[in-house]
Amino acid sequence: MHSGLVISHADPRPMYLQIMDQVRRRVAVGDWPPAFELPSIRTLAASVQVSVITVKRAYLELEHEGVIVTRQGRGSFVADSAGLSARLHHQELDTHLAAAADVGRRLGLTQDEIEVRLREALRRQKEKDV
């Protein structure tokens, strides 16, 4: 089975995170709908040519996040929960915001200063859209 997942060696993130990201995106955009059966760990490992242990870890963490469920001996499926796709979109935004907040903190900016910059970014985005 062709999974459509691709691992990049130029990407500094570890391979299991790249797999998690691409699975989340496929679920978020609806390519993989609720209850969709994911490729088995060994099939996906062979298809993207990464170790079984790496795919296993990605699936395990996706399970902890509630994105997929694994039924012993039957396989892994996209979780059948309402609003999962919207939640994943929000989660992606939250990840970026958390990273921005972290950089701001390390630069010693106050909360107000960070908020001003976020509003500034939103304003620039709006101008671009016009």
């Binding site: 490992a45 990464v50 079984v52």
Partner: protein, 298 residues
């Protein structure tokens, strides 16, 4: 738990100028183990011991449940072995070799062999003499794979291959372990291949195993921490630090036991963490070998 595919306990083998010492190793079914070490570290010697081609001075070696080298004939029925110094007969064709191996391997699968020919872009009628290095490697690999052995022992299978041939070989190895009763041990200097497809990684240097872990734990525990030190402050003493480089108020610490606690430990000394980087297997390998040698030579 089923029996491991490979089990070495306290194995030693001495040569006039080289000694393999205290080798303990375990490979479970369904796994790929990458064997990494500088030239002369003992990788090929270990693989030869596993094949029963050498007899250990001490220690126990079990392969597929058989004691080596005593029961090597029985064990080898289910082992596919490829090494750099394996020669094909130059005056013949690949088809001749395939017929020959098929005649001595009752489990030879002609349909799979044909599939491998196509996937490796080889032609059975080709004269061995006319094959390129990459084609020769793929041909020996085909001969080892086509009887579907439970264990593949591969000594440097990707060395000297062009990127396309490497891709074809790695794909075939991953395909082989879709059957979870099978296992692969392969040695390589190419840490990128090892990082990509191995479940377990073993580092060898100067005849000893200096590290053996599952790959995810391995890659997860190493970090390079970039710090900005307080004025006239010293670099903090981080747990598991194998290397600390200070230049002015900038310090880079390489640690083998990274946890988020490191942040607290740094901040308590007034140092500010500027970046925490993951490391490639190659960087981890070099750092491990260097720190191990420094300890040995001290």
């Amino acid at each position: 738990m089923t029996e491991p595919v490979i089990e070495l306990a306290g194995v030693e083998k001495a040569f006039p100028f080289f000694r393999l010492s205290d080798i303990h190793l375990r490979l479970e079914a369904g796994q790929i183990m990458g064997f990494v070490g500088p030239n002369g570290a003992g990788k090929s010697t270990t693989i030869r011991l596993l094949m029963g081609m050498l007899r250990q001075d001490r220690g126990e070696i079990r392969v597929l449940g058989r004691s080596m080298p005593r029961d090597q004939a029985a064990a080898k029925r289910d082992i596919g072995f490829v090494s750099e110094d394996m020669r094909l007969y130059g005056g013949t064709t690949l088809a001749w070799h395939m017929r020959f191996v098929a005649s001595v391997r009752p489990d030879w699968d002609p349909v799979y062999a044909d599939l491998l020919l196509r996937r490796f872009n080889l032609h059975a009628g080709q004269a061995i003499k006319a094959l390129s290095h990459g084609e020769r490697v793929k041909a020996t690999l085909l001969l080892a794979l086509a009887h579907r052995p439970r264990l593949l022992l591969l000594d440097e299978p990707t060395t000297g291959l062009d990127p396309v041939a490497r891709h074809e070989v790695l794909a075939e190895l991953m395909d082989a372990v879709q059957d979870e009763r099978r296992a692969i041990l392969f040695s390589s200097h190419n840490t990128q291949d090892v990082e990509q497809i191995s479940d377990a990684i073993t580092f060898l240097d100067r005849g000893r195993i200096i590290e053996s872990k599952d790959k995810e734990t391995f890659l997860d525990s190493w970090r390079r921490v970039h710090l900005e030190l307080p004025v006239s402050g010293a670099a903090p003493d981080l747990p598991g630090a194998v290397d600390t480089t200070v230049s002015g108020r900038t310090a880079v610490i390489t640690t083998r036991t990274y946890t988020p606690d490191v942040h607290g430990a740094c901040e308590r000394t007034g140092a500010v963490i500027r970046d925490v980087q993951r490391m490639t297997l190659e960087e981890i390998f070099v750092a491990t070998v260097m720190s191990n040698r420094r300890r040995q030579d001290a």
